[in-house]
């Protein structure tokens, strides 16, 4: 999924730059957050990548604006949960049929990871909404 272009026209200082980048990346994340309800692999994957972009932006700007630290940390946890779910999706695709018990375990764990990500997203949304 291609990232949305950040419009930097008229930006003349670091504060404006942070604001434009964070707003754009946050908008992307909010647009894709529906993936948590759909629980579909691809949509969740796109949401995870958008979270990653936002997290990197927040971490980069933390040096200038330390108030971004908390949100960056929570995003890292959200991204970890989504990453764990994604890894299980990938492994499930290659497991042979005789491994039914392992598949069941992986599916259960995958759902738990998505649930955890959904809870983390609710907390995070209140912290950083546009």
């Amino acid at each position: 999924m291609k990232p949305e272009r950040v419009d930097l026209q008229g930006v003349s200082n670091e504060r404006d730059l942070i604001d434009r980048v964070v707003r754009t990346r946050l908008r992307e994340v909010e647009r894709l957050a529906g993936g948590l309800e759909a629980r579909d692999n691809q949509v969740l994957h796109d949401f995870r990548i958008a979270c990653k972009r936002l997290r990197y932006a927040l971490e980069r700007f933390e040096a200038i604006d330390p108030s971004l630290h908390d949100a960056a940390e929570r995003l890292a946890r959200l991204q970890d949960a989504l990453g764990e779910a994604h890894d299980r999706d990938v492994l499930l695709m290659i497991l042979p049929p005789p491994m039914a018990q392992t598949q069941r375990r992986l599916r259960r764990e995958r759902e738990e990871c998505v649930d955890q990500a959904a809870s983390l997203w609710i907390e995070l949304r209140d912290l950083i909404s546009l």
């Binding site: 670091e14 990197y56 980069r60 890894d87 042979p96 005789p98 491994m99 392992t102």
Partner: protein
């Protein structure tokens, strides 16, 4: 913006350091470092493309990431399978694990070869 130029330069150097380190000794940890620094740098270039357009550099960073995807996937999936396999299915899993180990080795060698030809500093 002085801060921005300095940040781009720092992240560029970090990626070049990680690349050299991985080429010198291609361990799992160093592979992770190349991927992480690469992703951060890519994200920075994409965020500030309006200010500092560097399409060629961005393409190179994307190629570096693509070169390491297969090695990373095989490692992560092998580890996950080792950790989650059901006790009754260990025998069947051995075959899959063996395939993943081979894939991991080959993909890491290939990543090393590809990264050897790339440079991130002028």
């Amino acid at each position: 913006m002085k801060w921005l130029r300095k940040t781009i330069q720092n992240e560029r150097r970090a990626l070049e350091r990680a690349r050299r380190s991985f080429i010198g000794k291609p361990t799992e940890k160093r592979l992770h470092e190349v991927r992480t620094t690469g992703r951060r740098f890519r994200s920075l270039l994409e965020d500030v493309a309006d200010f500092e357009p560097s399409l060629r550099l961005l393409r190179r960073v994307k190629r570096a990431a693509a070169a390491t995807d297969a090695a990373r996937d095989a490692t992560i999936i092998r580890r996950l399978l080792e950790a989650t396999v059901d006790a009754d299915e260990v025998e069947v899993a051995q075959q899959v694990l063996e395939q993943l180990r081979t894939q991991e080795r080959l993909a890491t060698d290939l990543a090393r070869k590809r990264l050897r030809r790339m440079r991130f500093l002028p």
